[in-house]
Amino acid sequence: METNLTINGTEQRLDLDPRTTLLDALRHHLGLTGSKKGCDHGQCGACTVMVNGRRINACLTLVCMHDGDEVTTIEGLGQPGNLSPLQEAFVNEDGFQCGYCTPGQICSATAMLKEISDGWPSHVTDDLDGKAKLTAEEISERMSGNLCRCSAYPNIVEAIRKAAGENT
């Protein structure tokens, strides 16, 4: 199925079996192996990428459903020597051990910080009308779709807080 989409700013024309997930297209056909396959069933978040600015699980969507979309993967957020603030903070705060979940954590956190600054409430936000603060509790709830088998959670939360800065 012919599909035209933009990945990390570059236009791509793909013609793949309709069964191909966005995750497999990235990893197997475009060589973008930063996004990881943990469960392939939407349960772990290792495959998190951003589509049109929103975080999604790349394993639970078909690439042919993304004609015209803009996809951002961990490779598009920054590269060695030119890291995004979150990538930098994960390094500085030791936000990982094996690193397998990390690309998904960072893509997820990048979109999550936008959600919170856009005023999206979460399950733990007391007031649905107010603006949520970036507390550890809010971060944990909003990042619950990203599992870490090494349980680096405390430093992941710390990295996100640092990257977001003191003013949030």
Binding site: T21, G42, L60, H123, T125, L128, S144
Partner: protein, 328 residues
Amino acid sequence: MRPFGYTRADTSESAARQAASGGTFIAGGTNLLDLMKLEVMAPEALIDINRLDLGAIEETDDGGLRIGALVSNSDLANDARIRKDWPVLSRALLAGASGQLRNKATTGGNLLQRTRCLYFYDRAMPCNKREPGAGCSAKDGFNRILAVLGTSEHCIAAHPSDMAVAMRALGAEVETLKENGSTRRLTLDNLYLLPGDRPDQETVLEPGELITAVVLPAPVDGKQTYRKVRDRASYAFALVSVAGIAKLENGRIARANLAFGGLAPKPWRNAEVEALLTGEAPSEDLFNKAADLLLAEAQGYGANDFKIPLARRTLVSVLNELTQEAQQ
């Protein structure tokens, strides 16, 4: 995954026609693709409905809202009108799945998501929902997450949606478009079927019938809450959930809308329970009588027996919350 044909639908009418001749709609894909990977579902053809014009939330003439079937769970939870006037719906959505999944999951797909029964997912085990007549592995198996109300000897699966529970409490209706171009409206009660002897038939929708919208009636007066009890604090399905709306007047309950998740094959509501509460002064004794009535016919299957007392405690606690704060 088995091979399938794939078509991007341009109009709702053509989508309905294509689905009527052997196609299956795909919206967010977060449930369907999960099941297709396991070959629990194996559609011949997917009709991608994501390009249809069903993504708006519009106000209706009578003060309600018409939510397009493709509105994502995130956009619905974050809509300023929903947060203000239908907060139980926002709360239920925010209690479900994860940030990533809510961005993809749609209003129509959420309503029609399939059970999380472990045997439904496991093709090595008999399951009447997957294969009518094969038998139910859950009745004498790992059934901790399954239903205690509305079940049959053929299937004890629970409906997993949080959103649908809040919609049931709010009296929402589903709008559909059939293959022949006709439309209809269904209450959630009428949309879902109980398992009986055909647990594979989950709704009254006909082949090709497309959900186009969910219509919320005007805001229900009263305090609203969604309480979800689960094994983890986040990113887990409900063991028991309660969507509650209650209004007190002169120290008495003027109205109570209560819907339940995790307990039954569909979002559950019991008009007799609401009638028992209405007109009465709130008390622990009254709330326990409501729970007695709700659970009079509840049946556990071993591992899920705990849901019966858990449902009682959750209901009593929710009623306390809804009536106490309103009194202040």
